[in-house]
Symmetry: C2
Subunit: 399 residues, 2 copies
C-alpha cells in the first residue's frame, strides 16, 4: 500500500484533518469497501482549464485506486442564479443550459479521468422538493460564526459591502450534498477549503462520519502571479487547440515552471525530479518548458498533435529555419553588447567560466559560423545570431 | 379627523418613519379604503398579560376607526420550534397544540378588541409549500448587515455566543407575512422594532408600499423595573381572577403608577389628566392605585367583579373593619415614632404644615378616636391606628 498512498498524498496543499486520508483508508479496509470521493461542479462555469485539472488529477489518482467517484452537479443553485441580479456572472440557467453545460463539463472531465465508472448526481434531486421546514432544520446546524470564518464574507461584512443572505446559505447546500452521498473525501482547490469543511460539519450534525477535505494548490495563470482563471484571461483551457496550448505553456515565466511541471503534467515522479535537477543545474529553461508543453499537449490531445505543436512553435513563434531548429534560444537585451565569455556563460551557466575560457581559446566557439577565440571580444546582441559551443551546444539569440 | 389621529398617536413609543401614520391615513383617504393593521402572534406563548394589552389597545384604537385588523398566527415556525434543541422554551408544537394555543389567544384578544370582524391568518398558508428556490429568493432580499443591526444578534455574535442560522431567517419570515397580507401598519412592542422593520424592507423589495411600524412602550412588571413578562413572573395575566388582578395592581411601586394609568387602563384622557394632577398634588398614591386597579379589573372582568375585588382587597389585604372601609392607608416604618404634625403632613402632603398645625391646635385631629392637639407629640407607628383630620380625611396606618 505504501506506494499508492504516496501517490494519493502527492501535491496536496491542505488536508483537514491532517491525517484524515490515512484514517479513511484504514476505515475502508476495515469495512471492506472503497471510499466515496466527491467533486462538485458549478454548471455556470463549464469551461475547464489547467487549474481545474490539478484537482481532476487527484480525482484520477483515487480512481486509479478503484475508489468510488461521485461528481455533483450544482444544478439547483445554478437554476436560481444570483437573485439580487448584482452578480452578472450568475444569471439563472434554464434546465437546457444546465444540461448543455454539464455535458460540456463531462466531455472535458473525460480528458483526465475515465468517465465510464463515475456517478453523476444533480443536487436538485434533494433540494427541489425539500420542504421549507427541512431547510430551516438544515441551516440551524450552522452558526453565523462558522460562516463568518470564510474570509470573503468576513472581509465584505467588515468593509460594509453587502453580503446577501442567500450567499451564506449556498455553502450549506454544497455541504449537504456530502450528507446525501455519504462522501468520505471531498476534493477541491484551496479556495474551496471553507466550503468543503461545511460538508464535514453537516455530516457530523446529521450523525454521520465527517468527510475529509483535500485541497489542491491553485495553479498560477500565464502571468505567473494570479491564480489561473477564466475571468483573468490567464488560462490554458483543456479544450484549447494544440498550438495554442503549446504556445501558452511556452509563455509562462520561469518562476512557475516547477509548479506547471508538478501540477499540470502527468510525467512520472522520477522524470519530474530529473527535470528539477536540470533546472537547478542551470539548463536553459526554454528546453524544460518545451518538455512541459509537449507533455501537456500530448495529454489533452495526442502524441502527433504534440509533435506538430512543437514544430509550429519553433517555425512560427521562434522563427527558426529548419537548420536552426535544434538551437536553444538565448534571451538578451537587444542592441546591447556582451563579451564572448559572458555570452557563453549565460548560455551554459552550469559550466565554469575557466572551462568556457579554455573552450574559446581552443577555437571551439563560433559566432554566426565564424570562429571566435577572443573571450573579451564584445558581441552585439542581434536576434538571430547563432552561437555554437563545441559540437554539442547550439544557441540562437532570440527576438 | 383631528381627534381621531390624536387617539391613534397616543402612547406610541416609536413610529418608523416618524410621520408614517399621517401619510398612510392620507393615502387611505385618497384610495378610498381602510388601512390594514397587522399584529403577529407566536403560538408558543399564548398567555397574554397587561404588557401585551398595551399593543392590543392600540389595535383597538385602529379597529374603532374602522380599519382592517389582521392577526397573523406564526404557526409555521412554531411547528418547527428550535431545531437545535437549545431553547427549551421553543419545542416544536403539534398542529393540535397550535390550534389550542391560538384559541386561547383569541379568547384573550376578545377581552380588548372585537374579534368578530378581524381576519386571522396562519402563515403556514404561504410557508408550508414554499419551494426552496423561493426561500432563496426571499432571503436574498436581506443582507447580513441588516440582520446584524438587531442588537441581540450583534451582541451574541461579538461575545462569541452561537447564533444559529435559522434564527436569522425567522425575522425574515415574519416580515414576509407583511408582504403576503399587504400590511399598511404593523404593531408591536418596542422590542419588535427591528423585526417589524424587516417587513417594511421586504415589502419594498417586492415592489410594494412599505408598512409603517408602530411600537408601543413596554409596560414594567410588578417589580416596577423589568418589563412585564411571564418568565420574570412579574406579570398580570389577562385571565387572572379579579382578586389577583386587583391585588397585583395594588402592589406596584409608585414610580410606575403613571405608566399603568396611561398604558393599562382605558380611562378617558381627561380622567387620566385629572389623576396625574392629583398625584402631583400629593394625593395618597394608594387611592390612585385603587382607581387604576378598579378600572383594570372592570375592563377584563366587569363592574361587579371590580367592586367585589375592591372589597376583598380592603377586607383581606388591608384588614379593615367595615367601619374603616373608607380610610386611606398610610405606610410608615412599623415601630418607629413620628410627631403628630409630621404624621398629618405625610397623610396630606398637599396641605401646608402651618395649616395642619392650625388644624391640630383647633382640636380637629383625632388619633384612634381621641382628640390630640399637641403637634409635637410622638405617635408610635402601629398598624391599624386611625388618624382623622377634620371630617373629611380618614387614614389608617397600614400593616
Amino acid at each position: 500500500m505504501k506506494e499508492n498512498i504516496d501517490k494519493l498524498l502527492s501535491n496536496i496543499a491542505i488536508m483537514e484533518p491532517p491525517l484524515g486520508l490515512q484514517d479513511k483508508l484504514a476505515l475502508a479496509r476495515q469495512e471492506n469497501r472503497k471510499l466515496t470521493i466527491k467533486l462538485g461542479f458549478d454548471p455556470t462555469a463549464p469551461d475547464l482549464h489547467l487549474g481545474h485539472a490539478v484537482v481532476l488529477q487527484k480525482l484520477k489518482d483515487f480512481q486509479d485506486e478503484g475508489h468510488r467517484i461521485v461528481v455533483i452537479i450544482g444544478d439547483f443553485t445554478a437554476g436560481i442564479g444570483d437573485p439580487t441580479g448584482r452578480n452578472k456572472l450568475r444569471p439563472p440557467l434554464t434546465p437546457e443550459q444546465i444540461n448543455k453545460n454539464s455535458q460540456t463539463y463531462i466531455n472535458q472531465l473525460a480528458k483526465v479521468i475515465n468517465i465510464e465508472n463515475i456517478e453523476i448526481r444533480k443536487n436538485s434531486e434533494w433540494f427541489n422538493n425539500m420542504p421549507f421546514s427541512n431547510v430551516i432544520k438544515l441551516i440551524s446546524k450552522i452558526t453565523l460564526a462558522q460562516i463568518m470564518h470564510r474570509d470573503d464574507f468576513k472581509t465584505r461584512f467588515e468593509s460594509k459591502a453587502p453580503v446577501h443572505l442567500h450567499e451564506i446559505i449556498y455553502p450549506i447546500l454544497q455541504g449537504y450534498d456530502s450528507v446525501m452521498i455519504d462522501a468520505d473525501i471531498e476534493l477541491g482547490g484551496t479556495d474551496q477549503l471553507f466550503n468543503n469543511l461545511v460538508g464535514r460539519t453537516l455530516q457530523e450534525a446529521y450523525e454521520k462520519k465527517g468527510q475529509i477535505v483535500i485541497t489542491m494548490p491553485l495553479l498560477e495563470g500565464l502571468d505567473g502571479i494570479e491564480k489561473m482563471s477564466k475571468s483573468k484571461n490567464n488560462y490554458i483551457g483543456l479544450t484549447d487547440n494544440a498550438n495554442d496550448m503549446y504556445g501558452k505553456v511556452m509563455s509562462i515565466p520561469d518562476s512557475v515552471i516547477i509548479n506547471y511541471l508538478t501540477l499540470a503534467t502527468d510525467m512520472e515522479a522520477e522524470k519530474q525530479s530529473a527535470i528539477v535537477s536540470q533546472l537547478e543545474l542551470g539548463l536553459n529553461p526554454m528546453k524544460i518548458k518545451k518538455d512541459i508543453a509537449y507533455n501537456i499537449v500530448k495529454r489533452y490531445h495526442d502524441d502527433i498533435s504534440a509533435k506538430e505543436a512543437t514544430e509550429h512553435f519553433e517555425r512560427v513563434v521562434q522563427k527558426r529555419t529548419p537548420e536552426e531548429a535544434d538551437h536553444d534560444v538565448l534571451i538578451l537585451p537587444k542592441g546591447s553588447y556582451i563579451t564572448l565569455l559572458d555570452l557563453c556563460s549565460v548560455a551554459l551557466p552550469a559550466i565554469s567560466r575557466s572551462e568556457l575560457r579554455r573552450l574559446i581559446r581552443s577555437g571551439a566557439v563560433r559566432v554566426d559560423k565564424s570562429k571566435e577565440d577572443d573571450e573579451i571580444k564584445n558581441i552585439e546582441v542581434i536576434p538571430g545570431t547563432l552561437i555554437w559551443i563545441g559540437k554539442r551546444y547550439k544557441f540562437r539569440i532570440g527576438s
